[in-house]
Structure formats: C-alpha cells, structure tokens
C-alpha cells in the first residue's frame, strides 16, 4: 500500500469516527439542557441562602404556600387553611395524594419538622417563630400553628419565594441540625434529584416525578399547577458565558438562565434563539453603608450620599439598554404592593443634588475622611456600579478610595468590623433579587438591630420598632402605612440606598416554550416542541 493510500484510508477512518460521533443519540425521552447562573455545589436549600440551591429546592421540594404572579400567597401543598377569630391559630390541612419521592405519604409531622428547621435558620422564619407558641400535629394531614400573639407574617413567611424558602422535607431529613447539610435529597416536588448522576462541575440531573399530583389551577408565579412536561432536566456547568452562548446557538443546550446583557445583541441576531423576560419583579441595585465607622456613623453624611446619587447613572452604566432597567423612586420594588414615593419627594434617588449633598456634609462637619469603597470587578452585573458611585460621591465633595476585588473577597471583607484603614470598609454596592426585599421584615438591609443586623450594622431603635409593628400587623392597608413610615425613616436614618431595578432575560431555543413568569427560575410547565 502506498503512503498516499495509507493516508487516504486513515483519513477515511477518522471521518467515520467523527461522523459516528456526530450522529445524535437515540432519545426516548425529552431532556431540557440548561445552563444556570452557577454550578450546583451544595444541595441543602436551608443550609445556604445561595440562589442556585434555592432553584434546586424548587425542583425537588414543594412548599405549603406559594406566591402567585400577582404577589399574593396561595395554598400549594395545603388544601385548605383556617384562621381562628382571634387570629392566633392557623389550621392547615394538606392536599390528598402528596407523596415523598420514596413513595411514602407526606404527613403533618414532616411539615412541622420542616418548619422548625427552616425557622431556626431563615431570618424571616426566626421572626415568625418568635410569635409561635406551638406547632401542633392534629392528624397525619392536619396541623396547627398556634401563636403567642397575632402576626401578619404567617402566610407571607410560609409562602416566601426566595432564600431561604420553607421547603417541606421528610421528618427524618428535616430533623438534621440546621447547621449541618442534609445527606438525603428526598422531597415531594415535581422533580426527583438524581444523586448518582450529580457531578459537580459537570452536571446535575432531575427526572420527572411520576407520582407528583399538581394542583388543578394554571401555573401562576410560584403557585398553581406544577405540571412537568419534560422527562429530564440537566443543568450543565458551563462557567464561561461566551461558551454557553455558543452552545445555545449551536443547539447543544436549550436554555440559558442569565446571559450577560452585553451579549444580548448576539442572541437577538439568531433566528433559532429568543430572549424571554421571566422575572417581572427583577432585581434592585443597592448601595450599602458601614455605619460603624466615621464618617458614615453620622446619618447626615449618609444622607449626603443619598442626595448625590441618581439611579439612572448606575443603571445606564451597567445595564445600558432601557428595555432592561427601570428607575424606581421607592424603597420597596416598583410593581409590588408596597411601592411608594412617600418621603422621597424633591427628586431623591432620581436626580443628583450636589448642592444639597455638600450642604449636608458641611452641617455634619465632614473632615475629608477617605471613604473606602469596595468594588466588585469580576461580576458583569456589578462591575460598573462602584466607579459611578465614586464619581458621584466625589462630585458631592467626598474623598473616595475604590478598592477593586473579586466578589468572593468582597463577601469575606464585608463581614469585618475593623476600621476601613485596617482592612475594613465604608461602603459597597450589590444587587438584591426583588423577591427578597418585598417588605420591611424580609428586606435584610433594613434590619437595624446593631450587632444582629447584616454587615453594615445599622443601629436604630425607631426602625426596629417599625419593622416589629409591620410583623404584628395583619391588615394590608395598615401594613402599607407602616412600610411608608419605614421608607420615611430610611431617608432620615439611611441604612442603604436603592439604586433602581434591572431585569434579565433567559435565552432559549425557539422550540422551548411554556416558561413560567416568576421571581425564581422554575422548570415545570416548560416543554420542548418538536
């Protein structure tokens, strides 16, 4: 055989191998291939507040109540519930036919244990549990929540849409110490987690739960019927955005949860891909002060920053496209029941007023202390925020030293109470999922309980009183009035500054349909059309 013939045979052999590899595998089932915003490394949604784990939670577990598209709390696992006349006893009855993935029935005991574990860990759960006198099992399908005093938190907390979500787990699992990760991943949700196929850094797999009985209502937000229309969902770990987009364009994946805004034009050009906005509430950018140290220990100086900022500058710098951001002159997200402009008159948050800011700094006797501003430089949705903040603060007369770092370093550093000159900090910018900040109790940055507050440690008795009043109030009208008082108080004693709402879109192949609009990415109702 000549060298040329040998080469030809070798090339032919390689071609056959490559063609054989290119042939699509016979698929007896529909698989939705998804790239999420992050890899799934932890699988206990009570142990961590990480959003990717919360999203996994919605696959595997179900909730007693859930928030619908209008922001109202609806029964989910609960069939019916009854509130006593004195509003001190909630009697909850579970739906018929609820089963764990191992085939055993869901019981009241399971739910009570689950509420206790969540209530020990989640901040809103802790608040709720401070009102709870007893969780009483009546029978396998009914249990009672007996309160010490009335509160409007019960349904809102049990139907809380975001981290930590009160997911129901079997009693034996829910009895795990809340500070220890669970090791059994059995839920009663619409999907079953395939632990044997979970390869962190590669993929996580769920299959349809054939025993799941969806509610009869149409899906609405996180409530309603969770009808699964694919056999299998795979979350593929593709950390590089560009590669994930290329994979979507090439049809190797079907769904990308959070493509970066600057790559939307690439996706819009492809006829086989579409961008769909699924989270109507979006997210809120936020500037957080550290109130422990000079000069931000003085509310007047913090007010000066508030007057110097305008939301549009931040939103333009990061998101750019007006279709995906909204200036929102409200502490609580626009489009939610507690949206209000009370106390924000005079263009606060929407127009920079450097004269007012300078005047406040003068009144406060600002001595030119350099502000240590932490800048997260590795996340596209945060990267441009700090430079804008620095520029606006400098225009108001502040001296600012911007420290650039990756987000994980920032997360570690923000927990430090040391003076800014000794490794501490004065301020940073972040983003909240709107579903996490819907009211004064949920919104973590409003917690002003000094040492018990989140990093930044604001300490304000008046704010805490208002938050407490809100927790106790059961009338929605009065709750709104309290929320407005909280907003007014925020302008007097700023704990943080809301910097506008922004929205992302998921990118999907054209044949992927039925996605549910909700503040969390969920996969029930999603189907792949042939």
């Amino acid at each position: 055989m000549s060298a040329v013939r040998r080469l030809a045979v070798a090339l032919l052999a390689v071609s056959v191998i490559l063609v054989a590899g290119a042939a699509p595998p016979a698929q007896a089932q529909t698989t939705l291939r998804v790239v999420m915003h992050s890899d799934l490394k932890i699988v206990d949604p009570i142990w961590t507040t990480a959003y990717i784990v919360r999203n996994h939670g919605y696959m595997v577990y179900d909730t007693l109540f859930a928030m619908d598209a209008k922001g109202e709390i609806r029964p989910q696992m609960v069939d019916k519930y009854d509130v006593s006349a004195d509003k001190l006893t909630y009697t909850l009855t579970l739906r018929d036919g609820l089963l764990w993935h191992d085939g055993k029935p869901v019981t009241s005991e399971d739910c009570v244990a689950s509420i206790k574990r969540w209530g020990a860990k989640d901040s809103m759960g802790q608040k709720l549990m401070s009102f709870v006198k007893e969780l009483q099992v009546v029978n396998p399908k009914t249990f009672k929540i007996i309160l010490k005093e009335s509160t409007g938190l019960v349904l809102g907390a049990l139907g809380k849409p975001s981290s930590n979500v009160p997911f129901m787990m079997p009693k034996r699992v829910a009895e795990t110490d809340p500070n220890t990760q669970i090791s059994e991943f059995i839920g009663s949700g619409p999907f079953i987690f395939k632990k044997d196929e979970w390869k962190p850094g590669d993929k996580a797999v769920w299959v349809k739960n054939p025993q799941y009985k969806p509610r009869s209502e149409a899906p609405s937000g996180l409530a309603g019927g969770k009808v699964v229309k694919v056999d299998r969902v795979e979350w593929r770990a593709i950390p590089d955005h560009q590669t994930a987009i290329n994979a979507l364009l090439a049809g190797e994946i079907d769904y990308m949860e959070s493509p970066p805004h600057d790559l939307y034009p690439v996706l819009k050009q492809d006829a086989n891909v579409r961008l769909v906005s699924l989270n109507p509430l979006g997210n809120q950018y936020t500037f957080r002060y550290n109130t422990l140290h000079k000069p931000f220990n003085d509310p007047k100086v913090r007010q000066a920053v508030m007057w110097a900022f305008n939301q549009e500058d931040f939103l333009k710098a990061v998101i750019g496209d007006k279709q995906y951001y909204k200036v929102c002159q409200s502490l609580f997200p626009c489009g939610t029941p507690l949206e209000s402009r009370k106390g924000l008159e005079g263009g606060l948050l929407v127009e920079s007023n450097f004269t007012k800011a300078k005047q406040l700094l003068k009144e406060a006797g600002y001595d030119g202390t350099t502000i240590v501003l932490m800048h997260s430089s590795d996340l596209a949705v945060l990267n441009n925020l700090a430079p804008v903040a620095k520029s606006l603060m400098e225009k108001a007369g502040f001296k600012v030293d911007m420290h650039s770092m990756d987000w994980q370093t920032l997360v570690s550093r923000r927990a430090k109470k040391d003076p800014p000159t000794a490794g501490g900090w004065h301020a940073f910018l972040t983003s909240w999922v709107s579903a996490d900040i819907l009211n004064p109790v949920m919104a973590g940055f409003l917690n002003s309980a000094c040492d018990k507050a989140m990093f930044g440690w604001p300490c304000d008795e008046q704010m805490e009183k208002l938050r407490d009043q809100y927790a106790r109030e059961t009338d929605p009208g009065k709750q709104k009035a309290i929320a407005e008082a909280v907003q007014v108080r925020l302008t007097q004693y700023p704990t943080h500054i809301p910097l506008g709402q922004w929205y992302g879109a998921v990118a999907v192949r054209k044949n992927v349909q039925g996605m549910v609009e909700a503040p969390v990415t969920v996969f029930w109702n999603v189907e792949i059309k042939k």
Binding site: K121, T180, D202, R236, Q408, M454
Partner: protein, 313 residues
C-alpha cells in the same frame, strides 16, 4: 540506575513538603472566607460563624496545618468544603478528561511540531522556515482562550463540524470522545507546537552542521535516513527536555482550555476550588500537579539514557 531513581524519589519528599507549606499558607493569606461564600449572600454573621466552626476554620492556622498534613500523610485528602464528597473522589472523577486532553494535546503537538521543526531546519532560510517560525511566534503570542474562541466560532458555529463544548467519556463512545477533544486539544497544542518546533529547529540545525552528518552524506546516504538516523536522534535530548518542561505549560493551559470548552477536568476543578476558596481541594490538586511535574522531570531524565548512550546515572 535503580539507586539513582531511589535518590530522586527521596528528593521529591522535601520538594512536596515545601509545596504543601507554601500552598497552605498562600491560601490562608489570600483574602476570602469559604464560610461566607458557603453561607450565601443573605446570610447573617452568626450563620457564617457557625459554618466556620463546622469547617474547623476557627482553629489556629498551625493546628489546621497539623490536622491537614497528618491526614494527607495517611492518604486522606479530606472533604471538600462545598461538595459533599471527599477530595479523593472529586479528583478521581476529574482525572479522565484532563488525562485525555493532555495526552491528545501532547500527541498532536509532538506529531506536528517535530516534523515542522525538522523541515524548517532542513530548509533553513527558505519560505517554509520563515512560515514555520512565523507560526511559532504567533502560537506563542496569541492567548490560549483567544485561539479557543476563534476555533470554536469557525468549526463549531460557522461550519458546525464539531461540538462547541463538553466532554464525553471514552466508555460512552469513542467517536463522541474524540470529536469533543479535537478543538480543545488543538487549541492547547498550538502553544506547545510553537515551543517544540522552535527547539527542534535549533537543535536539528546544530546537529546538521556536525562532522558525523557530513560523513553520512559523503557516504552517499539519502537525506531522509540522514535526518532520521543521524540528525534527529542526536537532536532528541533538548527536544525531550522541552517536552518535559512544557508539561508545566500544559497544566496551565489545561486550566484555561477546560474552562473555555466546559470540560469537567482537574483544571476546572482547580479554578472552581480557587474561586470558592475550597481549601482542601486546592491543596490536594496543587500537590497532585506538583507531584506529576516532579515525576515527569524524573522520567525525562531517565529517557536521556535511552537517547544518548553516553549518559549514565
């Protein structure tokens, strides 16, 4: 030779000890707290403190080091902070893709670079020589990820001949396995080809001018046998050396290439572990890479004795 190998293996112990201390301290000195990362964005200081305690990060650094090194010496690399898996399990699950990528890259690089280098030397000053050296400069200058994206666009998006990303285990089908390795291996091989081709050219050029080559030609031997029998064999020592030393380049390249092509190998594990400050995993992977590097250098030294009979240990 056995005593030499024994001595070299013994010498790896202090090297690995230094690496262990260095990587342990470096991780602790780097900003970032794994407990804060695990706890998530909405966690309170109390949550973070509880997780730190659970992970043993509240103990003094010396104590943490003694516990870790003690376990490592007993063959226990510990448990990952994030994945509910032992580090050994994690590493074993990631070895195959990295090994496959490295082997493919090495084969591709050597089979491309050595003929290119020899041809460039043989045709010194010609357009082929200039072309090869030009390519070599380009290969060195363009970052691996740029090459990766360019190849991905051309062959996976534009022509749709190859997959964009991912890895298929060899057990799940050889065709898919090879198909998914072509682009990443080629991407990673380019810098390696540049390095080996340059060294091959220089080495072959040196030998081409030697007396024994002139004698072989004078005897009437054809060019190809002269190149293969008398030139390449004598030029092999520096080439093998650079292939061995280049493994460090390969390890660095694997980290980037695996990220660009979403290959779940050791490189990706390293990146993920570093970003998440997963100390036990980073420590184990760095120790593993260091051990592999030391052993490859030993292997290269031993190869010399086969290539050059004058070398004896």
């Amino acid at each position: 030779m056995l005593p030499y190998i024994g001595r070299r293996l013994l010498a790896t112990i202090p090297v690995m000890a230094v690496v262990a201390v260095f990587v342990f301290l470096l991780l602790r000195l780097t900003a970032g707290d794994p407990a804060a990362i695990i706890a998530g964005d909405n966690a309170t200081a109390r949550d973070v403190a509880q997780i730190r305690e659970k992970l043993g990060l509240d103990q003094p650094i010396v104590q943490q080091f003694i516990i870790w090194i003690g376990k490592t010496l007993r063959g226990d690399l510990g448990e990952s902070f994030f994945f509910k898996k032992t580090v050994t399990e994690l590493i074993l699950g990631r070895v195959e893709p990295t090994l496959a990528l490295a082997t493919c890259t090495l084969l591709l690089a050597v089979t491309m670079a050595v003929p290119l280098g020899v041809t460039a030397a043989y045709k010194r000053g010609s357009w082929i020589d200039r072309f090869v050296m030009g390519l070599s400069v380009l290969g060195f200058s363009v970052p691996v990820f740029v090459i990766g994206y360019a190849l991905m666009y051309l062959f996976a998006i534009h022509f749709a001949w190859l997959p964009v990303q991912g890895y298929q285990r060899i057990g799940d089908g050889f065709g898919g396995f090879i198909q998914r390795l072509v682009l990443p291996s080629f991407t990673l091989a380019i810098i390696y080809v540049a390095l080996i081709a340059r060294i091959t050219r220089a080495s072959v050029l040196e030998v081409l001018g030697a007396d024994h080559v002139r004698t072989a030609r004078a005897k009437g031997l054809a060019d190809l046998p002269v190149l293969l029998r008398h030139v390449l064999r004598n030029a092999a020592v520096p080439i093998v050396t650079v292939i061995g030393l280049g493994v460090a380049l390969l390890i660095g390249g694997v980290v980037v290439t695996e990220s660009v092509f979403a290959i779940p190998g050791l490189g990706r594990l390293t990146v993920d572990a570093v970003l998440a400050r997963d100390y036990p995993t980073v420590q184990a992977v760095v120790l593993l890479f260091s051990g592999v590097y030391v052993l490859i250098n030993l292997l290269v030294d031993l190869t010399y004795t086969f290539l050059d009979p004058r070398i004896r240990y």
